[in-house]
């Protein structure tokens, strides 16, 4: 019976939510129950930079309750994800350890890009509906407390994703001192955020037509829409605007009364509604989709995919690679060389994968590293390694965790920097021992693959790689002179041999 009961837990800044799913090959994801308990972890973190013991106790109590519910549904697997409230807490490791010991639940801290990616996956979990939507220019707008993520799609692929510091709470905090001086709270918000949106449009919407918008977010997004329609609904711009007038043009008190919520909550909702409205106008979209999804949907979808219980019609890996490609283009990388590098790296990776326990996810990291391997040249031709590292570390790549980003940045650094193979003393601080080993392995592959196109001329017409008797046999078919490549191959093969305990052997066949 390929049906699993899975619990997805989302530890947010204001709520701790859990949704239990049935994940199966036949029916995909089926939500069995969802619960939510208010807990203002964010208040602690944002003010004190740490999570208090009192809040920890409350969180443990909630998670213990959730474990009981899990038992009620025979849950066999779970994933608990925490976001900014944990990310920004200095005592996060201690808190995670306490939770693990008290409840047996291991909490994963999501990077912003991972979090957004899971949110995006949750929309994609709608299957055909989502695919149909993103065939045309589409923006996914995901507004949280601190920031808003805008992801643009065109022809079935992610073309850009940007994080803007326009979160509903952040806007509220920025306006808290002056909101008493105006009767039109919405107008004040509009003035505050207009300049940011105009910049965004100029930079990313040039020559791009956005026809659809998908509105997602946290608990508050669902709250502002709850009273007016069933979730998972599409509507026209005119319908949206009609609703907007009724909700966002009132004072926080009026909106609170209308919706049966406190005015404190409505002061968070109004910025969110205004932001949604402005984006709709700015992008000039015609159709709005409110899929009514939560992060927990994304966590479950991701789980189903990993367990091969769900097969997505959308290629999420391609989104990550596309984002990496766009980034390399921005830093003027050589497209042909990058593609040749990806092909060679992947062939070598596939040959050695099983021998040294590399997993498919590592292949994705390697490919991203290929695209970004020389982005630092844009800054400095002499210190490319460090520049590339810095560019990668300061850029969000959707779908990657902070840890994965560090691995990629170090792979790229090890690729260029002259270094004496494995040296524990040189392990970068941002990598664990395991990740250091992984980064060295991927860098060894990248270096070897790089040497096969060191002239950037894509001389190889064919490439075959196999492992035999502790040797890595690389067979190249080419019509051109391959001397330069041979020379660099020998230099890089030493590094590869030390890391993999496989001696790279190059055989070049000259094609007629």
């Amino acid at each position: 019976m390929a049906i699993t009961q899975f619990a997805a837990i989302d530890i947010g800044s204001y709520n701790v939510s859990m949704e239990i799913f049935e994940v199966g090959r036949k029916n995909g994801l089926r939500s069995l129950t969802s619960v939510r308990m208010p807990l203002e972890l964010g208040k602690d973190t944002f003010a004190l930079k740490k999570i208090s013991m009192e809040k920890l106790g409350e969180l443990i109590r909630i998670l213990t309750d959730y474990k009981r519910i899990m038992k009620e549904y025979g849950v066999t697997d779970l994933r608990a994800c925490a976001k900014s409230a944990f990310r920004e807490a200095e005592n996060r490791d201690l808190i995670i350890d306490h939770i693990l010991r008290a409840t047996g639940i291991r909490v994963d801290i999501l990077s912003n890009s991972e979090q957004r990616f899971l949110g995006y996956k949750s929309i994609a979990s709608r299957g055909e509906e989502f695919q149909k939507f993103i065939e045309k220019g589409t923006a996914i707008v995901d507004i949280g407390g601190g920031s808003a993520q805008i992801s643009l799609f065109d022809k079935d692929a992610l073309v850009s994703t940007q994080n803007l510091l326009l979160g509903s709470l952040r806007i509220r905090e920025n306006l808290s001192r002056i909101d008493r001086e105006t009767l039109r709270y919405d107008a004040l918000i509009e003035e505050l955020i207009r300049s940011e949106l105009v910049s965004f449009r100029k930079m990313y919407l040039k020559n791009r037509r956005i026809e659809n918008i998908i509105l997602v977010g946290d608990y508050f997004t669902n709250l502002i829409f709850q009273n007016r329609s069933d979730m998972n609904k599409t509507e026209t711009r005119d319908e949206f605007m009609e609703w907007y007038k009724s909700i966002a043009e009132g004072s926080p008190r009026e909106v609170g009364e209308e919706m049966g919520i406190s005015s404190e909550v409505s002061t968070v909702l109004i910025p969110m509604a205004v932001l949604y409205r402005m984006l709709i106008n700015e992008f000039d979209v015609q159709t709005i989709w409110l899929p009514g999804i939560q992060l927990t949907d994304g966590i479950a979808y991701d789980y189903g995919e990993r367990k091969k219980l769900i097969k997505s019609s959308h290629d999420f890996e391609n989104d990550i690679l596309r984002a990496a490609r766009n980034m390399s283009r921005r830093y003027a990388s050589n497209k042909q060389h990058n593609e040749a590098l990806v092909a060679a790296s992947e062939t070598i990776f596939n040959a050695v994968r099983k021998i040294c326990g590399l997993v498919p996810r590592d292949r994705l990291l390697l490919k991203v590293a290929c695209y970004l391997h020389d982005c630092g040249k844009y800054i400095s031709m002499t210190d490319t390694a460090e520049s590339s590292y810095n560019i990668i570390m300061s850029t969000e790549i959707i779908g990657l965790s902070d840890r994965e980003r560090s691995i990629i940045a170090n792979v790229v650094r090890f690729n260029t920097r002259s270094m004496a193979a494995y040296n524990p003393a040189e392990r970068p601080k941002d990598l664990s021992t395991g990740d250091y080993m992984l980064a060295l392995r991927l860098a060894a592959i990248l270096r070897l693959a790089g040497s096969l196109d060191i002239s950037y001329k894509q001389k190889a017409d064919s490439l075959k790689v196999s492992v035999k008797d502790r040797e890595l046999h690389i067979s190249i078919g080419t019509k051109e002179d391959y001397t330069l490549e041979r020379g660099f191959f020998d230099v890089n093969s030493e590094f590869f041999e030390e890391i993999f305990d496989l001696k790279p052997m190059l055989k070049v066949r000259t094609l007629g």
Binding site: M1, I3, Q5, N15, S17, E22, G24, K26, N27, R30, L32, T33, S34, V35, R36, M37, P38, D65, R68, I69, K71, E72, Y73, G74, N222, L223, Q226, D230, M231, G292
Partner: protein, 745 residues
Amino acid sequence: MAPSDSKKMSSTSKAAEANAAAKASDGAGVPDFTAPSNFYNREISWLGFNSRCLSEARDSKIVPLFERLKFLSITESNLDEFCMVRIASLKDQVHAGYKGVDIAGMNSQEQLDALSVKVHEFVHDQYSTFNRSIVPALLKAGLKIAAFGELEEAQKNFLHKYYEEVIYPVLTPMALDSSRPFPLVRNKSLNIGALISAKENSGKLSRKGKKKKPEMEFATVQVPSVLPRVIELPALSDGTRTVILLEEVIRGYIGELFQRYDVVCTCAYRVMRNADLTIDEEEAEDLLLEIQRQIKKRQWGEVIKLEVEEGVDKKLLKVLRREFKIADADLYYIPGPLDLTFCMKLYGLDGFDEYKEKPYTPAPVQDFEGAASVFDAIRQKDILVHHPYMSFDPVVSFVSQAAVDPDVLAIKQTLYRVSGNSPIIKALATAADNGKQVTVLVELKARFDEEHNIAWAKTLEKAGCHVIYGLLGLKVHSKITMVVRREEDGIRRYVHLGTGNYNDSTAKIYTDLGLFTCSESIGQDATAVFNMLSGYSEPDRWYKLLVAPIWLKDGFKKMIRREAENAKAGKPAFIRAKMNSLCDPEIISELYKASYAGVQIDLLVRGICCLKAGQPGISENIRVRSIVGNFLEHARIFWFSNDGDDEVYMGSADWMPRNLDRRVEIVFPVDSEELKEEVKHILTTEFEDNVKAHLLLPDGSYEKIDKRGKKLVNSQEQFCKEAWAKVPKKKGTKKERRFTPSEGI
């Protein structure tokens, strides 16, 4: 209230009231549906219901004699509860200086004044029924309720022995003098008060040589509630069976309790105290402990009613009135035995079967017959159960089978009132024992069941169930059970939703409906209900259920308004609903508006009804009936015509503010067309009842339906027959005889 009496009661000019109501308009011709003149006071309306019960006790033509005893007993226990809660609450309001008015525009004092008059009238009617109608009929049937002085010798001997051995050891006589304060007299307890004077003082002369007036002391003895109130004696020599009441025996032997005294006079008396629990839930650290404390206090609340025997000695009465601080309005002279609930004990006497209804055995539910398990049956289709016509066993089996089913992961249930030895509680404990996740919401605040509920809630907790003790500020009145089961194709949730409590005892006498389903959307909603009750978030949406306190009233209002819109648009529009009580002003106003728009509204309201039916310009299209029969009408059904696409709902909620605003209630749709037809048939039959139904007249009185020239329809009897008609008759197993020739050698 009997029709003639209720006409008397409503002697205030009803016609004038109706006209005033019609005139109270917004100036544009639309009447003001919310004007107080458009509503009846709920307490007076409740007394009307008790009068309808009493009319059953009076009905010697249709109701068998011993069933009449039962009705009389019910009117007494009803009235006791009414006084302890409703009158007590009004008194509290007066003490607190509350000046607000009720739905009918009466302030608390005005209500108390009106009620005092009506309760006195009611008590008079009760005893006139007992003395003039029932006692002679009992005698005719061969049962005598004897006084102490009229016993035959053999009976006296029997009784003396009984007194010595059984009664005397548990009596605690108490005398009141300067050294001993007035004893605490328990709520509702029956007592015998006496004035006694010391024998040594009798005959003493005063200084002036005159015979001294004996100094009298007050003494009292509680009639022990641990002993049977009705004692059957050996039959009279003519064969008449004889009973005597316990207080009569004690009074007969009272001299033996005060041997150094002369007993000057005696009188049975009973006090009713304020028994409404006042719990500050916000302040209560532990609700369970707080309720336990309050239950103890209930015994000693303010005395709000004193009953004494008619002809009580003036001096004795003076003592009682002084001690209990009783005003004239709250003093009742009772022309017969106090506390008529003993009539239920008479009903329980063996024999007299010809004077009792034949006991009804609930029919088995056919949809469950032959199924491997209740779950198999429910998987086939939604199943409706109509109690007590159909057996309550499937409801018990639902929990007990789940308790031992290896595929069941969890059981969740709300419990309001359960029976003393509840099989459901046992099954829940077994389930927890078997490692199931069991969550039970126990409503500790279920009035007068608090003590009982605490006891079994603790039992469940000990068994390992997760027990939730209600919600802050809300009573959980919904009746819902959910079983989570892991099946081959995934998790399936089985849900039972009911209109009545999970009480196997009352399920034999209350008419209720229940629905078993494994519908995904109801399963989702049921999960959301339990999540909400467990203190987790409220759901963002409900798929099927209407849930109070937040969503239910609006849901009903929308459906009533939809009918009004349909009527305005010239479409056929009607509402047919059944409930225990109707007193929510918002809902009533909506009904008036709908009636005004042309919606035909037929209501079956067993008890309180604050709506005025048939008022010109207000409610001409509204008809209200009340059925008081052998079974207590308890189901809530709501049927909206919805422009031909009928919507039928059932649930735990009445149209009362307490149900819609202060309780967790569930109203659920009947979606299956087959079941919808069944429920519609039930309502239709009840509206056709002309034996047990009473019609609310425009003047506020009720009268029995005119059945002249009509086929008699007793809906309860009909449902009994229909339930058994569904049960296939067992074919006689004819033994087949066959002669087998022996094999040839």
